[in-house]
């Protein structure tokens, strides 16, 4: 034994995170390629077709408008998949958590490590989008290099939210409600494909409450250089929702992890 004390909190969180990194990097080709393929397909689709009909959106070339939103949605989807299906399988089928909890790791460490991993995946996925759209000259290199940080925040927020959903789910099929009922509408009404301001006035507050609207606003600002004070509110929303969802996800999952 190297010391008489169990590892420190940062080390415990790191070790949970490390497990996920090791699993993810084991299949580098199948895990590492799709994040780059997705934006390529999107560029081809918009560039070859859609872009001819919609030239600009909100005073931006449409392809730029969409690209800055895509930085965030890729992070949302990857973290949501990880913390719903991924978590559920580790929890119920593979019993991975059961083993981990016999090591010096508490249920909270496990859940928070999971959220940090979701953030890391968000970061990586938006980074992949950034590389592709920058290489193809869609987005000029600017403060956009900071957009993956928004990807991280998106991953953390949707990781926490998805874990909270997972804590209620008893059957894996129920996740389809979350994906089609919550995430898909968000993709369309959070300012990714068209600006929230063009929604009917009654729906605009609804869009504002949608979690995805806020990282989209941040990413778009970083990609276009149009900064304003309202962005602070967006950032606060992300932090607040992450903390709220994270807190209840930890509390509820603890009950499922400890008998």
């Amino acid at each position: 034994m190297n010391s008489n004390k169990p590892p420190s909190l940062p080390h415990r969180l790191y070790s949970v995170w490390f497990r996920h990194v090791l699993v993810y990097t084991r299949n580098l080709v199948s895990n590492g390629l799709p994040p780059f393929m997705d934006p390529l397909i999107f560029l081809a689709g918009v560039g070859l077709g859609l872009g001819k009909y919609i030239v600009s959106m909100d005073d931006l070339p449409y392809v730029q408008f969409l690209a800055s939103g895509l930085l965030v949605t890729s992070a949302m989807y990857t973290s949501a998949f990880e913390c719903t299906y991924g978590t559920f399988i580790r929890l119920e089928f593979d019993k991975v958590y059961d083993g981990m909890l016999a090591a010096p790791i508490t249920p909270s460490n496990l859940v928070i490590g999971e959220i940090l991993w979701a953030g890391t995946k968000g970061l990586f996925f938006s980074f992949a989008v950034l590389i592709v759209v920058t290489l193809f000259g869609v987005l000029p290199l600017s403060t956009s290099v900071l957009a993956p940080a928004v990807g991280f925040l998106t991953g953390v927020m949707f990781g926490a939210l998805s874990l909270l959903i997972t804590s209620f789910v008893k059957t894996i099929n129920h996740f389809s409600f979350y994906f089609t009922g919550v995430l898909s509408p968000m993709f369309f009404f959070s300012g990714v494909v068209f600006p929230v301001s063009s929604l009917p006035a009654v729906l605009r507050p609804v869009a504002w409450f949608m979690p995805l609207s806020h990282p989209v606003a941040l990413a778009r600002a970083l990609c276009t250089g149009r900064f304003h004070a309202g962005l602070l509110l967006n950032l606060m929303y992300i932090v607040a929702l992450s903390l709220w969802a994270g807190y209840f996800a930890v509390r509820r999952l603890k009950k499922r992890l400890v008998q």
């Binding site: 034994m1 190297n2 010391s3 004390k5 169990p6 590892p7 080390h11 415990r12 790191y14 070790s15 490390f18 497990r19 090791l22 699993v23 084991r26 593979d94 019993k95 991975v96 059961d98 083993g99 981990m100 909890l101 016999a102 090591a103 010096p104 790791i105 508490t106 992890l257 400890v258 008998q259």
Partner: protein
């Protein structure tokens, strides 16, 4: 006598209305192997889980738990750090290969890289898995998975090893290998808690055993003393249905206890082998079996032969 490694007093645990553990007390000395025997649903696994904090005990004023001086309610991490756990079901990480499974756990225990690599090599050799280091978990046989799970629990050189049915479903070769390894570890001072359904396993490994049923302790002691105190030395089993029926109607001779186990089957218990042999003198070879009593006889005496609703 030194401080016990584990001391449990008046432990209670229920799931809904079901009492999983009821007023259980026992203590385990350092470097002892302590065995839990009991039918399925007796509360053995729950008890183990409570010790390392993946099950919460019921709040009860008299309850006191100390594992190396730590209470799982306050010092879950310290206990987990000093213990290695082999659960009933292998919960190896199927997304990682053999070595990676161990590497990940070395991180959980905060081991340094060089130290971990050395220890992993040692353990893979110890459990005869060295040529499987790059294998996927799905490619391993049941016995290999079990050995790997035990190796994983020993990675950080724990002071306590918790084994929940370590050899269930394994072939005799692997079981004997595991027993041999466990005896070696015990000699090095490792304290072992084990649950098992194999009475020979308990007899081979355990210094003390505790028989429990429906969450309650029925008896506790060394295997030899429990046998001596609770059951006759010899057992005569009558396997032939005709002979059993005939003998069942007659009274058992002085000093012999008769028990009807199933339809058409009879068991006699006695301390004098020659009395039992005399009882079987008219029977053909194959119609009866005369042997020394063992833990299984004791176990059945305490827990009964009938199934309960949890089994």
């Amino acid at each position: 006598m030194s401080n016990p490694a584990i001391a449990i007093e008046h432990l209670h645990k229920s799931y809904g209305g079901l009492k999983a553990v009821e007023d259980l007390s026992f203590s385990v000395h350092p470097a002892d192997c302590f065995g839990f025997l009991g039918p399925n649903g007796a509360g053995k696994s729950t008890l183990m889980r409570i010790l390392y904090g993946t099950a919460e005990r019921e709040a009860h004023p008299e309850t006191r738990i100390r594992v190396f001086g730590f209470d799982p309610l306050q010092d879950e991490l310290s206990i987990k750090f000093l213990s290695g756990v082999v659960p009933q079901e292998n919960n190896l990480d199927e997304e990682l290969n053999v070595t990676q499974n161990l590497v990940v756990y070395s991180k959980f225990y905060g081991m340094k890289r060089g130290e971990a690599e050395k220890r992993i090599d040692e353990l893979l050799a110890f459990f005869e898995l060295s040529d499987k280091r790059k294998s996927k978990i799905q490619e391993l046989s049941g016995g290999m998975k079990r050995r790997l799970t035990i190796a994983r629990a020993l990675l950080h050189t724990p002071r306590l090893l918790i084994l929940d049915e370590p050899t269930t479903g394994l072939d005799p070769q692997v079981r004997h290998l595991i027993w041999r390894k466990l005896r070696e570890l015990k000699k090095e001072g490792l304290t072992v808690l084990i649950t098992t359904h194999y009475m020979d396993e308990a007899y081979q490994l355990c210094d003390r055993i505790l028989i429990m049923d429906k969450g309650r302790k029925l008896t506790e002691g060394s295997p030899q003393s429990l046998l001596e105190q609770n059951i006759e030395r010899y057992v005569l089993e009558i396997m032939d249905p005709g002979a059993a029926r005939a003998m069942a109607s007659a009274e058992a001779p002085e000093g012999i206890r008769m028990e009807k186990t199933q339809e058409d089957r009879l068991v006699f218990y006695g301390n004098e082998a020659h009395l039992l042999r005399r009882l079987a003198k008219d029977l053909q070879h194959g119609e009866y079996h005369l042997r020394e009593s063992n833990l299984e006889d004791l176990f059945l005496k305490f827990t009964g032969r009938e199934l309960n609703e949890l089994q």
